[in-house]
C-alpha cells in the first residue's frame, strides 16, 4: 500500500490537503485548523458528521458555510 492510500484527502474551495486516515472528522478538521462550524463535509454525495472515522483513500469535499469567507 502506498503512503497516499494511508491518508484522507480534503478539498476546500479548490484547494486540497491530506491528513492521516483513522481519525474522526472532528480530529481531522482540528489537525487542518479548520473550524467545524464553518464547513459541511460531504463524502460521495453524502453529508457526514464529526464522529465519522475516516478511512484511507477517502476524499472529503468541504463546503464552506459562510459565502465568501476564507474558510
Amino acid at each position: 500500500m502506498t503512503f497516499e492510500n494511508q491518508t484522507v484527502k480534503f478539498i476546500l474551495r479548490g484547494k486540497t490537503c491530506e491528513v492521516k486516515a483513522g481519525m474522526t472528522l472532528l480530529d481531522s478538521l482540528k489537525k487542518l485548523d479548520i473550524l467545524p462550524e464553518s464547513v459541511i463535509a460531504v463524502r460521495q454525495g453524502e453529508l457526514i458528521l464529526e464522529d465519522e472515522i475516516l478511512k484511507p483513500g477517502e476524499v472529503i469535499q468541504l463546503v464552506a458555510v459562510i459565502s465568501g469567507g476564507a474558510r
Binding site: 473550524l35 462550524e37 453529508l47 458528521l49 458555510v65 469567507g69
Partner: protein
C-alpha cells in the same frame, strides 16, 4: 450519530438544539420550523401574495423552495446588478435562479438594473464616488429601492428575504459594537407594511447558516457557491467567522444572543428616544418613503450619476 426520530445514521447535527437528524427527517423538520416561525412572528397568511427576493444563493433559493413546499403563493424577484469581476457573477447567479424557477414552474420577475436605469452597480458606484471603491453601499440602496418598487407595483403583500441567523447576528454584533440603537430598534423578523410599502419578513432568521447550507445540499439545489466578489474581506464575514469560533466553544451562543435581543427589543429596550424619532416623507420623484424631506437617496444617486456620465 443517530437520527433522533428514526435511529438511522444522522446527516445533520444541530448542537444548539441537541438534535441530530437524518436527511429525510431534517428535510421535514426545517420547513415545519419555518412554518412555525411564520405563524409565531405573524409574517403572513396562506392567502397573502409573497415576493421572495432571490439572488441565486443558497438562502434565498432554499427559502423559495420551502415556501413552495409549504403551499404559499410565493413568486421570485431577481435583480440583475451587472457584477462581473472576471467571474461572470451576475450572469451565473441569474442563470441558476432562472433554472430553479423553470424546474419548479415558479413565476420569476427579473429586473436588470443596467437596462432599466442605464448603469450597472459598479458603474453607478464609480460615477457617484460612493463606498470607497466598494459598491456595497450603492448596491444596498438600489436593491432596497427596487424590491420596494416591484412589490408595490405588482401588488405583493409581503417581501420575503433569505436572511439566516448568522446574517442577523453579525449585523446585531456590528450594531452593538457601535451602539446603533436606532438600527437595533429596526432589526426584527417582521417589519410592518408602511404607506404603500410591503411588509418585510425574514422566515429563516432562526436557522444557522450551516443548516441552510445543509438544506440546499440535501435538496439538491444548485446555487451560486461564491458570494459576491465585492463581499470578500467584509466586516460582516469577519464577524461571522468570529461568531462561529464562539459557537464552536459554546454551542447555542449565536441563537441565545439573537433570541435574548428579540426579547429585549420586545420589552422596549431599544426604542429610540422621542426626540430622535423622525417623521417619514414621500420622495417627490419616485413616491417611496424617505427619512428626510426631499428626494430619496436612490433618486439623488441617479441624478448624480446622470450629471457625471
Amino acid at each position: 450519530m443517530k437520527c433522533r426520530t428514526c435511529g438511522t445514521k444522522a446527516a445533520v447535527n444541530m448542537r444548539q438544539h441537541k438534535l441530530a437528524l437524518c436527511k429525510q427527517h431534517f428535510l421535514e423538520w426545517l420547513p415545519e420550523q419555518t412554518a412555525r416561525f411564520i405563524k409565531k412572528y405573524r409574517m403572513f397568511g396562506q392567502h397573502e401574495k409573497v415576493l421572495v427576493a432571490v439572488s441565486g444563493g443558497k438562502d434565498s433559493l432554499s427559502l423559495w423552495d420551502i415556501l413552495h413546499r409549504l403551499g404559499y403563493q410565493a413568486d421570485g424577484l431577481y435583480l440583475g446588478l451587472g457584477i462581473d469581476e472576471g467571474i461572470g457573477y451576475s450572469d451565473q447567479s441569474r442563470r441558476l435562479t432562472e433554472q430553479f424557477a423553470r424546474q419548479r414552474g415558479l413565476t420569476l420577475h427579473v429586473v436588470d438594473i443596467r437596462s432599466t436605469y442605464g448603469y450597472d452597480i459598479p458603474t453607478l458606484s464609480a460615477l457617484t464616488h460612493r463606498g470607497h471603491n466598494r459598491p456595497c453601499a450603492v448596491c444596498g440602496v438600489v436593491k432596497r429601492h427596487e424590491m420596494n418598487r416591484i412589490a408595490r407595483d405588482l401588488g405583493y403583500d409581503v417581501l420575503a428575504t433569505g436572511h439566516n441567523l448568522d446574517d442577523e447576528v453579525s449585523v446585531l454584533l456590528g450594531n452593538t459594537f457601535s451602539w446603533q440603537v436606532e438600527l437595533m430598534a429596526r432589526q426584527a423578523p417582521v417589519l410592518p407594511a408602511h404607506d404603500g410599502l410591503a411588509r418585510k419578513v425574514k422566515p429563516l432568521c432562526r436557522f444557522y447558516e450551516k443548516e441552510m447550507t445543509a438544506y440546499a445540499l440535501l435538496r439538491g439545489i444548485e446555487y451560486i457557491y461564491e458570494e459576491c466578489p465585492f463581499s470578500a474581506g467584509s466586516t460582516t464575514i469577519y464577524y461571522k467567522e468570529m461568531l462561529n469560533r464562539l459557537e464552536n466553544d459554546r454551542p447555542g451562543a449565536k441563537l441565545a444572543f439573537y433570541l435574548k435581543f428579540l426579547e429585549a427589543r420586545e420589552s422596549g429596550l431599544f426604542q429610540p428616544p422621542a426626540e430622535f424619532a423622525q417623521p417619514m416623507y414621500n420622495c417627490p420623484s419616485c413616491g417611496q418613503l424617505t427619512q428626510y424631506e426631499g428626494r430619496c437617496s436612490f433618486c439623488r444617486m441617479m441624478e448624480k450619476a446622470q450629471s457625471h456620465s
